[in-house]
């Protein structure tokens, strides 16, 4: 007689696959969306890129081995690089600056900080970007990052420290910028 268990096993595998995809989305989508939004500075674009990321997740869920965060990061990174490559080739960069006079000073500072962080993140090394993504956008603990990346927890701590130092260098206004910023505030 035929062994019908193969069909029930397959159905269970499909169901598991769906559960895993849902679980991945519920755990990581907010962080992925947030990171992509921070990088591209455009909500619609961020939605499109995040959507593409999760479509890739659905299609390639069979390739997931071990911890999902690094795998997800590799998809996010490749989709972002594709976006920046395409933008370099085709699209015009929107350089329009909002009317800062109409905004309260806190909002101006906040916006300025966001754009500085955006450019700083893009200048970090791949490893540092991955660590920042996991730590500040996925809210993972050092132990979780260590498990996912195969590093030790202390190593992760040191890498976070270095990444922040690097960001600080990029975020802090350079000397020639200071008078301009002061003038704007006046």
């Amino acid at each position: 007689m035929y062994d019908l268990r193969i069909f029930t096993d397959r159905a269970r595998l499909n169901s598991d696959r769906r559960d895993i995809i849902e679980s991945l989305f519920n755990t990581y989508a907010r962080g992925v969306g947030s990171y992509v939004y921070t990088r591209v500075h455009d909500a619609e674009l961020a939605e499109a890129i995040t959507s593409r990321v999760f479509l890739i997740v659905v299609r390639n869920i069979g390739q997931l081995r071990g911890a999902p965060a690094p795998w997800l990061w590799s998809i996010v990174r490749s989709e972002l690089s594709r976006h920046f490559r395409d933008r370099k080739q085709h699209a015009e960069i929107d350089e329009s600056v909002p009317d800062q006079a109409a905004e309260p000073i806190e909002q101006v500072i906040h916006r300025e900080m966001q754009s500085r962080v955006q450019s700083a993140l893009g200048r970090l090394s791949d490893d540092q970007q991955q660590i920042v993504f996991m730590k500040f956008y996925q809210g993972m603990q050092n132990k979780e990052i260590a498990q996912a990346t195969g590093l030790s927890a202390s190593n992760v701590g040191v890498m976070i420290h270095r990444a922040l130092k690097q960001i600080k260098v990029y975020v802090e206004p350079s000397e020639p910028d200071l008078p301009a910023a002061a003038q704007r505030r006046e």
């Binding site: 169901s15 679980s23 755990t27 947030s34 071990g66 500040f136 956008y137 975020v171």
Partner: protein
């Protein structure tokens, strides 16, 4: 089959809650599984990670770096919930599409297998039958012999053979060294 190394229960500590309303997302079911009950858990915190400064090397700038980390978290852009809902809906549609595609692929593969099997069996049977005939003929067994039949018409009256011999050998015995005898006059 792919081996899933990802454990849902352990890797999903702070998933995003499912949207309760909006664009039909809440009513979306996959197969017989309603996933909303599985993932109703609090979202990840937007506060600074508690173990942020763990394993940091001694550095006078640590305080500044911790403040910068706070800025990083507070200036983080968040995709609106409606965007996340749309992404989730697209992802679920893709899950269904992928499942359907996989099912069709399985059916097509089974169909090809059945056809190939049928052709194989047929070819095998044909080959076996022809080889049997050849073997039988070469053995010269009870194959039907060729028969030629000709219709011959005999004349109605045939001349009768004479009673006396055509040559009377006793009259010519001299020829064979015997006593001569005058042939009697008839």
């Amino acid at each position: 089959m792919h081996e899933m190394a990802f454990n849902i229960a352990s890797a999903d500590p702070h998933p995003r809650p499912l949207p309760s309303t909006g664009e039909g997302v809440s009513g979306c079911t996959l197969g017989n599984t309603q996933h909303s009950a599985l993932f109703r858990m609090p979202p990840r915190s937007t506060q600074l990670p508690a173990d942020l400064t763990d394993h940091w090397p001694d550095d006078p700038a640590n305080e500044d770096l911790a403040r910068l980390a706070g800025d990083l978290v507070s200036t983080r852009r968040e995709l609106p919930t409606i965007s996340l809902d749309r992404i989730q809906l697209r992802m679920r549609q893709e899950v269904i599409r992928t499942g359907r595609r996989r099912r069709w692929r399985t059916i097509a593969a089974l169909f090809v297998l059945v056809i190939a099997g049928y052709m194989g069996v047929r070819a095998f049977l044909t080959a076996r039958t022809s080889s049997n005939t050849t073997t039988h003929a070469s053995r010269g067994g009870d194959s039907t012999p060729v028969q030629d039949r000709f219709q011959v018409t005999l004349p109605a009256a045939t001349p009768k053979a004479p009673n006396r011999p055509l040559i009377d050998l006793s009259r010519h015995s001299a020829l064979f060294g015997g006593p001569t005898s005058q042939p009697s006059k008839p």
